[in-house]
Structure formats: structure tokens, C-alpha cells
């Protein structure tokens, strides 16, 4: 994809982000604006900011890629990513805001009065943050490779270093207006091209001509495959073989991919995997560190609830578009199914469908800029969260120097990991982060808020059992050998057994250690659940 507009578009997005961040607040105000200055952030702005921080490269690129590859079964990804906020709204948002906690470790300390549990929660925050950063780096590498033709390694390194440096130097703090801008940018970058694409598809008729390779493509086969060409001949490359297709050649069909209308029917992935995915995404959102810190900006519990409701609407609207990209990708870019780079579908679709004319180029660069924004906003938010807990809870006093060291340490780990997981789908790695969050922090928050009987020992045991099992599963998936049969489903999608495990262990150990109940539990419960006018009555 060669468009002269792409690189300028990406540069403009980055500059706009930095400029709004640096100068948005530099405007001095006089006393007449005092009441404006002391007005807290409204639910709409806050919700857009949460959306901006939340919608990552996985949402922007990954969801479309998965829909292209697996069809209707993976619709649970976008549905779950959005519906996670429903669980957050119902169980967590308002009480957590009323508690006054800024981060998850803060909540542990407040509710269960245990410094040791705080340390454990910190470790999990850092792990989840890293796991979530990996796909962001991956997406960035992919975007840069696709857009500029450089190598994946270079892309990951370049962007990882840029984000780490800017967070370490304090260049990109999570400022509400910047993040809200990022949300609308991402939405525009997906929505405008897809309108043109849909119109184009309508005009061209529902059955486009057989797709051909637009450029000379080299495909490397890791596994034996069977390819059926347009004229009916069958190619059977073995593992390790490399095939080159000339530009203009028709794209062959891969045997393992379902080309018929079956692609639109559910059932390929199995019931267990589907339920696992639903549990992980529904319950994992509430354990994401960079999302929870944003709730602190709400003035009170009911504002937190309103914000979550708006987030649900905004995020739900956003996820319509990646799905459409996936579907249109089947029509216009089936060669990605052959090359395996399905995550690039969003980036390639405009030029593939609309040709390399001015419109295609402009829309292509808009999408690339949006992908870059997605990557920048969520990874800088995540890295800031990770560096924040590292500097206050691990290095000690949270000074500026500690924060910089933490940001660098926090940035290097996911860069190294991202270089080693290039074979995995972006959304699948994100799914693992959700599974770990759902099996550690979800039970902690839900039981901590709604059950008086939770003790520190119970919470620690539950986090270690559930979260530990989920982490083990993740490590086994990323580092271990391929697993046979049902074991691969149990390990690849662990949430359906790790979440109940965490809940059960937490409840049982809490019941067994009832004497450890903190004496302050009634006070804390009152603080969490008393309606705002009572809790915040001011004279």
C-alpha cells in the first residue's frame, strides 16, 4: 500500500495529540472563568476519554481480522469488549468511585486492610498491563510494516521506544481532552471509509469479480496446505515451502478456510471456548488498570454510573465498524486468508476495494492514522498505569525519577515480548489479558463490594488460584508447545474454569478465616453503598 498521504497523516495525529496535551491547559484563565475551572469533567467527556483509552489496536485492527478469518463465532469478541462495561456498570462503577480508591491496589488496602494483598494486586496489575501492552506493540509493528514496508522488528522497536520515551519524559499523560479526542478520531477513521466501502459494494453488485493479487506476493507455508486455484487445479505445498504469486493472478482458496455461507453460521469453535470467551470479556473489563483509574475523574458515584452508561453506548457504536471491515474483507481481500496477515485487513481494505486512486489513498491514510491513534492512546495510558504502580509500590516513594525508571522498565518488557509473539492474533493476546483480569480482579472487586465476609487471606488465595491458573495458561500458550485436543481449548481459553475457581477459593478461604475480618468492614461497606447525597452531604 503506497500512499503519499499516510506518513503525513500519522505525523499529524501524533503532533495533534502532543499539542492538545501540552497546550490544552496552558490557557490562562481569569477569575470570571473560575466556576468553569472548578467544574468537574462531565460524564460525556469522561466517557469519550475512557473510550479513547480503551479502544486499542486490538479493537481497531484485531477484531476485523478475526471476523475475516473465523466469521460469526468471533462476534463474541466485540460484543464482550463492549458488554464488559455492563458488568462494570452493574457491579463496580459507583461503589468503586465512592470508595475513593485510585488504583486497584488502593482498593485492596482500603477494603481489606492488608499491605501484603496490596503487593499481590500490584504484581497482577503489572502483569495484566504488560500482557495488554504486547498486542499494542504488535499492532504498531504491523501498521508500520503494512504502511511503510519496513520489517516487523523495526516497527515494534521504533514505536515501543517512542511511547516509552514519551511516557518517561511526561509527554503523554492521560489528559481527558486528549483521550476524548482520540476516541472521536478512531471512530471517524473507521466510520468514514466504511461508508464509502459499503456504497462501493452496493454499486458494484453483491457478487464482485473473483479477486486477484494486486501485487507480487510471496507466501511461506509453515504447515502443509491445499490450495484450489480458480481453474480447478490443486496446489499442495508442504511445510517450509514458499510460493510466489504474480500480480494479476487469481487468488486460490485455502482448504482449511471455510469459504461458503457456513462462515456466517456459529458453532465452529465449540461451546466451551465460546463461554470462556464470554466470561473473560464480560468480566475482564473491570480488572483493566488503565480503565479503572479514569473513573476517579468522576465527581461521585452516580456520575461514575452515568459515565459508564455513555461508555457502553460509545464503545458499542464503535464495534459495529470493525465487524463490517471483516465482512467486506471477505469480499475484497481474501488473499489475507492465504498469507495469514488477517490483522492488516482494516489497513488494506480501502485501497483494495476503491483502487489506488486519490479516494482510496486518502481513506487508506485516514485508517492508518486512526490505527496509530488507537495504538498511541491505549499504550501510553497502559504504560502510565504500569509505571505508576511500579514507582509507588515497588520502587518506593513515587518520585519523578522513580516514575521514569519504572516507565522504561515497564516499556522494555512488552517490547521484548511483542518481538516473540508475532505468530498470534492481536485479539487473542488481548483475550488472554482479559482472562487473567477476569480470574483475579473481577472476583476481588465483586466480592469485595458485595460480600461483607471477604477476608484478606481469602482474597489473596482466590487471586493466586484463579489468576495464577490463568497466567499459567497464558504462559503455556505463548511459550509452550502446541497442545492436543481439548487440552488446547482448556489452556487457550481458560476463563470458563479459572473464574469459577477464583470465586470458589475466595469464598471458601474467607469462610475458613472468618476471624481475620477487618473491624472496619461495616464502615467501608457504608461508604461504598450509601447513596451519594448522604455520603457527600456538605454543609
Amino acid at each position: 500500500m503506497d500512499s503519499p498521504f499516510t506518513v503525513p497523516a500519522i505525523v499529524i495525529v501524533t503532533l495533534a495529540t502532543v499539542i492538545i496535551g501540552a497546550y490544552g491547559l496552558r490557557l490562562a484563565r481569569t477569575t470570571s472563568d473560575f466556576l468553569v475551572a472548578s467544574r468537574t469533567v462531565s460524564a460525556r467527556w469522561n466517557a469519550a476519554a475512557i473510550g479513547g483509552e480503551y479502544l486499542s489496536a486490538a479493537s481497531f485492527l484485531g477484531v476485523a481480522g478475526l471476523v475475516l478469518k473465523f466469521g460469526v463465532d468471533v462476534l463474541w469478541y466485540p460484543v464482550g469488549f463492549a458488554a464488559g462495561y455492563l458488568a462494570l456498570l452493574l457491579f463496580v462503577a459507583a461503589p468503586l468511585r465512592r470508595s475513593g480508591a485510585f488504583t486497584l491496589p488502593d482498593f485492596c488496602e482500603l477494603r481489606l486492610r492488608s499491605r501484603r494483598l496490596r503487593k499481590l494486586a500490584t504484581a497482577f496489575v503489572v502483569f495484566i498491563g504488560w500482557l495488554y501492552l504486547v498486542p499494542q506493540m504488535q499492532g504498531a509493528g504491523l501498521t508500520l510494516t503494512t504502511v511503510t514496508g519496513g520489517s516487523y522488528l523495526m516497527g515494534v522497536l521504533l514505536v515501543g521506544v517512542v511511547v516509552t520515551a514519551s511516557v518517561a519524559l511526561g509527554g503523554m499523560r492521560s489528559i481527558t481532552f486528549v483521550q476524548a479526542f482520540q476516541y472521536w478520531l478512531k471512530l471517524t477513521a473507521l466510520a468514514v471509509p466504511v461508508l464509502f466501502l459499503a456504497l462501493h459494494w452496493q454499486m458494484e453488485g453483491t457478487t464482485p469479480p473473483d479477486p486477484v493479487f494486486r501485487e507480487t506476493t510471496t507466501v511461506h507455508f509453515d504447515h502443509p496446505a491445499k490450495l484450489t486455484q480458480a481453474d480447478g487445479t490443486v496446489l499442495a505445498p508442504s511445510a517450509g515451502e514458499t510460493l510466489t504469486f504474480q500480480a494479476g493472478e487469481p487468488v486460490p482458496k485455502v482448504e482449511s478456510v471455510n469459504y461458503g455461507t457456513d462462515w456466517l453460521l456459529p458453532g465452529e469453535r465449540g461451546l466451551f471456548a465460546t463461554y470462556s470467551l464470554i466470561l473473560a470479556t464480560f468480566l475482564g473489563t473491570m480488572g483493566l488498570p488503565h480503565v479503572l483509574v479514569r473513573f476517579y475523574t468522576n465527581p461521585d458515584g452516580s456520575a461514575a454510573r452515568r459515565t459508564t452508561l455513555v461508555v457502553l453506548a460509545l464503545v458499542g457504536m464503535f464495534y459495529l465498524f470493525p465487524t463490517l471491515y471483516g465482512v467486506l474483507g471477505r469480499v475484497y481481500t481474501p488473499e489475507l486468508l492465504l498469507t495469514g496477515r488477517t490483522d492488516a485487513v482494516v489497513l488494506l481494505l480501502p485501497s483494495s476495494a476503491l483502487g489506488t486512486g486519490l479516494l482510496g489513498q486518502l481513506l487508506g491514510s485516514l485508517v492508518a492514522a486512526g490505527a496509530f491513534a488507537a495504538f498511541l492512546s491505549s499504550s501510553s495510558g497502559l504504560l502510565t498505569s504500569v509505571a505508576g504502580v511500579l514507582s509507588t509500590d515497588v520502587l518506593g516513594r513515587g518520585s519523578v525519577r522513580d516514575f521514569r525508571i519504572s516507565a522504561i522498565a515497564g516499556g522494555i518488557v512488552p517490547i521484548v515480548l511483542a518481538l516473540n509473539v508475532s505468530g498470534l492474533d492481536v485479539s487473542q493476546v488481548v483475550g488472554m489479558a482479559f482472562a487473567v483480569a477476569a480470574s483475579s480482579f473481577c472476583p476481588l472487586l465483586v466480592l469485595g463490594i458485595w460480600w461483607r465476609g471477604l477476608t484478606d487471606a481469602g482474597a489473596a488465595a482466590g487471586i493466586l488460584a484463579g489468576g495464577g491458573a490463568a497466567i499459567g495458561a497464558v504462559l503455556l500458550t505463548v511459550l509452550g508447545p502446541p497442545l492436543p485436543g481439548w487440552l488446547s481449548v482448556l489452556i487457550g481459553q481458560p476463563a470458563a474454569w479459572t473464574v469459577p475457581l477464583a470465586f470458589a477459593v475466595m469464598v471458601l478461604v474467607s469462610l475458613a478465616t472468618r476471624h481475620r475480618l477487618p473491624g472496619t468492614v461495616s464502615t467501608i461497606m457504608l461508604r461504598l453503598h450509601a447513596p451519594d447525597p448522604v455520603a457527600a452531604s456538605r454543609g
Binding site: 496552558r26 509505571a387 516514575f403
Partner: protein, 389 residues
């Protein structure tokens, strides 16, 4: 799991077990019987004292009494107040009433007593209790009672008395802790919001000057003044949010502008993310008051006060700056209050911030004569026990 992994795990577990056994054996060989005895006594004493450091109640007594009995080596041990038995462990529980009665006397006189068989009449045939020792505690009205299966030996008496004395000391320490806490709270209350009489006088004077020329403005100012005093004189809650504090500062500045007119300029840079931050009540306003009074009122021409609040991860940074006459750092450093109560406001805020958040969160003042003053503070976004009310 593949076989090599399982084998490796087994070998690992085996190695750990061997290591643990070796360590344990080594420790036994190193410790002499005397050392072991010291360790045993101190360990038990430590276990017994931990609950008692939260005061003497039924719950803490119940947790501690078991360890105390081990320490004394008696058949049964009770912790009693003058009225009833807080906790009992071991044999002789049916003598509770007799022990409580004897303890009441012993607490009243402050002398320990030894009870013989005659003092403990019993209708149970299999009762093994032959005597008891009651030792009153000196720091609180309570006593330790030990029962014995034979007439109390001098050794048991000594052990009981020493244990009682030791428990007494620990409870006194608890008293010290809690009174220290109460003192800090009382200090905090005394330190709260000392609104300056100068300000009330000046504000009313400024309002009076508008009553004839601009009655509407005078009315607005009086309403602002009323709201301002309502916030500043409120009696409940130690904490407030930055948004509330800024609202009160706004009223204060409106009143000061009525007095100074165009001479007072205000610049604001507030990050909206930090407005919900909870901080001690009236801890920014005195800084603004200070900036207006010392930065402006003794200087010819206009002056500017800048208020800035920025988001810094888990903290919020607040600075109040003026371009006035500044202060001599030496005067500021001296602990004696200046003749006109100049920086009492600053040290008050400093003390309260330190008392609430800890010593590393004190005020930072940058100033020199003729160079203006900049006061900055850091407020953590979360601190256990800090909540807006």
C-alpha cells in the same frame, strides 16, 4: 504434562524437601537449651501480647489468654475485670464466680492474693483445683487469675505476678498509643480553619463602600460573604474536595477584588482530572490568602496571583504563586511566629498536611525578598482514611 517435565518437577520437590530437613536439623544443633527456652518464652509472650496491643476487651482477651496460660504454666488462667470474667482457658472454669469475686477485691485493694482450698468450695467431686493466685493489673482495672491443681507453689506465684506486671506494661503502652492518636486528632481540630479577622474587617469595609454607589453589587458581595463564611466555619468533616475548595477560593477572591479592584489579577490553570481529589479542609485557601496579603497589599501597582493544579499520576500537585514582595527565608525558617502572624497560615497548613498524609507531603515554599513567593504541595489521590464528608 510431558514426562520429562513431570520428572523435573518431582526431582525439584525432592531437593526442596531435603534442603528443608537439613535446615531444620542444623538449627537444632546450633541452639542450646537455654537459647531454645528464651526463644520459646519470648515467642509465646509475643503471641500473647499482639491482641492486647489493641486494648483489653472480651475479643482480645480471648485471643491472648491461651498463650498467657502457656507462659505461666498454670492449669487454668483467666483475665478478669472487677465485674466479670473476660476470658478463661484451661481447667477450673466452674470457679469463675469465686475468682471474679476475689478479683474484684484484689483490684480494689491493688494487692495480689493467694486462694487456698478453703476459699474455693466446690461441689464437683472430680474437681482438681486446689488453689488460685489473683494478680491485679496496675494500668487498667483488671486482674489475672491462675488456678492450680495443687496448693500454689512459690514458683507459680512468682510467674503469675511477673506475667501480670508484663501484661500491665503492654496495656499501658496501648493507652499511650491511643492517647497519642487522640492528641493528634485534637491538634488537627485546633489547627483547622483560622479565618483571619483582618479579612472580615476589610471585606465588610469594601462592601460598605458599595452600598450607596452600587447596591446590587453590594448585595451580591454580601451573599458571597455569607457563602464564604458558611464554608469556612462549617464544623463537620475534616476533608473536602479540591473543587469545593476552589469554589470557596473563588468567593474569597471576589471579595478581595471588591477591595483591590484592578490591582488584583488572577491566573488559573486547573487540570479537571484532579478536581475530585480529597484534601484536608481549608488547606489551599490560606495559601491564596497569604499570596494576596503578602504578595500584593504591600506593593504599589498591580499584582498577580497564579493558582495551578496539575495531574501527576497518583498525586495532584498544587501551587500558589504571587509576584509580590516575597519573604526572607530566614524569617520563614524561624519557628517563632512573626509579629503580625505572617506565616501562621502556612505553618498551619504544613502541619495539617503532614499529620494527614505523612512527613513527605509537607509544603514547599520558594521565596526571597523582592522575588515573589511560590508555595507548592503534593496531595496523593488516595490515602486510606481520607474521605470527603
Amino acid at each position: 504434562m510431558p514426562a520429562p517435565l513431570a520428572v523435573a518437577a518431582l526431582i525439584g520437590a525432592f531437593a526442596v524437601a531435603i534442603y528443608a530437613v537439613m535446615r531444620l536439623r542444623q538449627r537444632k544443633a546450633v541452639a542450646t537449651p537455654a537459647q531454645r527456652a528464651t526463644y520459646g518464652v519470648l515467642h509465646t509472650a509475643g503471641l500473647a501480647v499482639e491482641p492486647l496491643r489493641h486494648g483489653l476487651t472480651q475479643a482480645t482477651a480471648a485471643k491472648s489468654v491461651k498463650h498467657l496460660r502457656t507462659l505461666v504454666g498454670a492449669d487454668g488462667l483467666a483475665l478478669l475485670t472487677g465485674q466479670d470474667v473476660l476470658a478463661f482457658d484451661g481447667g477450673g472454669a466452674h470457679h469463675r464466680a469465686q475468682l471474679a469475686e476475689a478479683a474484684a477485691k484484689s483490684i480494689a485493694t491493688g494487692r495480689s492474693t493467694v486462694l487456698g482450698l478453703d476459699d474455693l468450695p466446690c461441689d464437683q467431686i472430680d474437681c482438681t483445683i486446689r488453689g488460685a493466685i489473683i494478680a491485679p493489673l496496675h494500668s487498667v482495672p483488671a486482674a489475672v487469675a491462675a488456678t492450680a491443681a495443687e496448693p500454689p507453689s512459690p514458683g507459680l506465684v512468682q510467674a503469675t505476678l511477673e506475667t501480670a506486671r508484663w501484661v500491665s506494661t503492654q496495656l499501658a503502652l496501648h493507652e499511650l498509643d491511643s492517647s497519642r492518636e487522640r492528641l493528634a486528632q485534637a491538634e488537627l481540630r485546633a489547627l483547622r480553619a483560622q479565618i483571619s479577622p483582618h479579612f472580615i474587617y476589610n471585606a465588610l469595609g469594601a462592601i460598605a463602600s458599595f452600598v450607596r454607589t452600587d447596591p446590587d453589587r453590594a448585595r451580591d458581595l454580601i451573599l458571597e460573604f455569607a457563602e464564604f463564611t458558611r464554608y469556612s466555619f462549617r464544623s463537620h468533616g475534616e476533608f473536602t474536595t479540591l473543587a469545593e475548595e476552589l469554589r470557596s477560593i473563588d468567593r474569597y477572591l471576589t471579595l478581595e477584588k471588591a477591595r483591590f479592584g484592578e490591582r488584583l489579577k488572577v491566573r488559573l490553570r486547573i487540570a479537571p482530572e484532579v478536581l475530585p481529589v480529597v484534601l484536608p479542609f481549608l488547606c489551599v485557601q490560606p495559601l491564596v490568602e497569604n499570596a494576596v496579603r503578602h504578595g500584593l497589599s504591600r506593593k504599589p501597582g498591580a499584582g498577580t496571583v497564579s493558582i495551578e493544579a496539575s495531574d501527576a499520576g497518583a498525586e495532584c500537585h498544587i501551587t500558589v504563586e504571587d509576584d509580590g514582595v516575597g519573604m526572607d527565608p530566614a524569617v520563614l525558617m524561624s519557628t517563632a511566629p512573626a509579629e503580625d502572624g505572617q506565616h501562621v497560615g502556612l505553618s498551619n497548613v504544613d502541619d495539617r498536611l503532614r499529620a494527614v498524609f505523612g512527613d513527605e507531603f509537607g509544603l514547599v515554599v520558594e521565596t526571597a525578598l523582592g522575588a515573589g513567593t511560590k508555595v507548592s504541595m503534593r496531595v496523593p489521590k488516595f490515602h486510606p482514611g481520607v474521605v470527603a464528608k
